[in-house]
């Protein structure tokens, strides 16, 4: 596993040194053993700024092997800066195969979405987490929040949901929606839309969460209960959209609003670009899709 001889600097396989990877793997194993518990780890400086996925990259670097196939998504899209850069990074430092297809990937690093296509056993989903502590904005003291986790004092989490209902008439939290893992720890599922929360519940894939700046790793092992918090008289609901995807006609998927012109024109398209492209290749099309639905020539995503 030598680095490219032409480079000035040479890197260890997957950028991190082996000691660091061992340390991170230990944290991951502990996280898997205690689902939803935030394990502190000695986060390293990465060649990217905090907030760009340093936690997710370190987790991926520690678990990736030469045979892995990596997919990286940013808000569901394969083709935004963050996703493209991280894919290129691992292609360079680990020489692994990369893909944009959910089914082909063994490791999927994501910033805030879970692919629409159900994940399978053996796949690993790595989340980039900005703020791992779900209680943070209610209780600023870390000593206190740790105690609250330890003693399972989670009344405060419902205070937040209460505030939502009092102010908006319903639970208006639409992302980073708190969940309870395996009946014990309350966990921030990273800022994924709450639309994706049900996909975490008893997922066959391993879900790992890395927060680089906050130096925390946590995990949801396969087939683990992940239940979104709610009230008896205001139950958890996911977002619904009144129209299907404008390009592929998919329903019951998470949609992004795309502005088309300066006159208020807009359309809703799948946030998961891989899912949308697949469906269009299979012959589905929405009301704004180009008429020639042969996927020849350049494939143009919405943006």
């Amino acid at each position: 596993m030598n680095a490219q001889s032409t480079d000035i600097a040479t890197y260890n396989f997957a950028y991190l040194d082996e000691q660091t990877k061992r340390m991170i793997r230990r944290a991951i194993l502990k996280g898997i053993a205690i689902p939803g518990y935030q394990v502190p780890f000695a986060s390293r400086e990465m060649p990217m700024p905090y907030g760009w996925g340093t936690g997710g990259v370190q987790v991926t670097a520690s678990i990736i092997g030469p045979d892995d196939v990596l997919k990286v998504i940013d808000q569901g899209a394969n083709d935004t800066t963050n996703a493209v850069s991280i894919r290129a990074f691992f292609k360079k430092v680990a020489k692994v195969d990369v893909t944009t297809e959910t089914a082909k990937a063994t490791i999927i690093q994501t910033r805030h979405r879970i692919p629409e296509q159900p994940l399978t056993a053996g796949q690993v989903l790595v989340f980039q987490v900005p703020i791992p502590e779900p209680l943070r904005f209610l209780e600023p003291r870390e000593t206190e929040t740790r105690k609250m986790h330890a003693l399972e004092e989670y009344g405060l989490m419902h205070v937040k949901l209460y505030e939502d209902i009092a102010k908006h008439g319903r639970i208006a939290t639409s992302y980073a929606y708190p969940v309870k893992v395996e009946g014990r720890y309350v966990m921030d599922p990273s800022p994924t839309p709450k639309f994706d929360n049900p996909k975490m519940h008893r997922s066959p894939a391993l879900q790992l969460f890395g927060a680089g700046r906050e130096k925390r790793i946590y995990a949801v092992p396969p087939f683990t209960d992940v239940v979104s918090l709610d009230f008896e008289d205001h139950s958890f609901e996911v977002q619904t959209f009144d129209q299907p995807c404008a390009l592929c006609g998919a329903e019951n998927v998470y949609l992004d609003e795309v502005i088309l012109d300066d006159h208020g024109g807009h359309m809703f398209v799948c946030s998961d670009t891989d899912h949308c492209e697949k469906r269009r290749a299979d012959g589905h099309h929405g009301h704004l899709a180009p008429e020639t639905h042969s996927a020849s020539g350049k494939m143009e995503p919405a943006e």
Binding site: L138, K147, L151, E153, G155, L156, H158, V159, K160, Y162, E163, I165, A166, K167, D230, F231, E232, D233, H234
Partner: protein, 258 residues
């Protein structure tokens, strides 16, 4: 009322290094009884209150509390989880500065409802109805339920803090200068309210104050502290009308007459 005390404190001492916080404090507190702890600043009242409310561990001595099931438990031998549970169910703690006891960035309703949610209530409608009820009991208009305490006056904040503490029906409430920093008319209303609540709910309370008038209005029994030690204790009326210890005599004679 039962014939057993609620709280038994025996030879409680707290030292900060070689400095005395409070020394050798012994008393029993009975259900429904209000005990005032008075003394000048630095006399150890607040240290004593912090020890009793288990926010500080004493250097020596014991304190036992009779739980709802009649079992006696020694406070400093309980696990932290049990102590914290006691704190948010069977006990209340009213701080001098309401900002210490309230969550200033969540609404009044959520402040009152927090304890209910902490003990597992998961029904929004019920929590809100209870919050409305408690706000009216402490004379806060129902239409202020969704306002943050930041928008409240000092007196309202203090009343909100009291509601927040009493919502789970505690049996014992600790109050640290509950009327400190309030002007006299607001103070009078708050005292009136407190006296009503304490009587209606049969609360036992330990009130720390330097204001003898507050002690006279609220309490049946009184402990006078000086330099960390109890110099005199007895029925409030007796202590104020017929002070025996020289320090108490000084204290009583220092009350400003209007």
């Amino acid at each position: 009322m039962t014939d057993e005390p609620l709280l038994r404190v025996s030879a409680l001492s707290k030292f900060y290094g070689s400095r005395v916080g409070c020394e050798n404090v012994t008393f029993d507190l009975w259900p429904g009884e209000v005990l005032a702890v008075v003394g000048e600043s630095g006399s150890g009242k607040t240290t004593l209150l912090s020890c009793l409310s288990t926010r500080l561990l004493p250097s020596s001595g014991t304190a036992s509390y009779r739980m709802r099931d009649g079992q006696w438990r020694e406070l400093y031998r309980m696990s932290e989880a049990e102590r914290r549970f006691l704190m948010r169910t069977d006990w209340g703690l009213v701080h001098q500065n309401p900002a210490d006891g309230l969550r200033m960035t969540v609404s009044a309703g959520a402040n009152v409802g927090e304890r209910l949610m902490a003990v597992g209530d998961r029904h929004y409608g019920r929590i809100r109805a209870t919050a409305v009820d408690w706000l009216s009991r402490v004379e806060i208009d129902e239409d202020r339920i969704d306002d943050e305490p930041r928008a409240f006056s000092g007196g309202m904040r203090q009343r909100l803090q009291i509601a927040r503490n009493l919502v789970t029906g505690p049996r014992l409430v600790f109050m640290d200068e509950p009327t400190g920093g309030l002007d006299v008319s607001v103070q009078a209303r708050l005292l009136d309210l407190l006296r009503g609540l304490v009587t209606d709910l049969g609360l036992a309370a330990i009130v720390v104050t330097h204001d003898l008038a507050v002690a006279r209005l609220l309490s049946q029994r009184m402990m006078v502290m000086k330099d960390g030690r109890v110099v005199e204790s007895g029925l409030t009326d007796r202590v104020l009308e017929d002070p025996r210890a020289p320090y108490t005599q000084l204290l009583v004679s220092s009350i400003l007459q209007v």
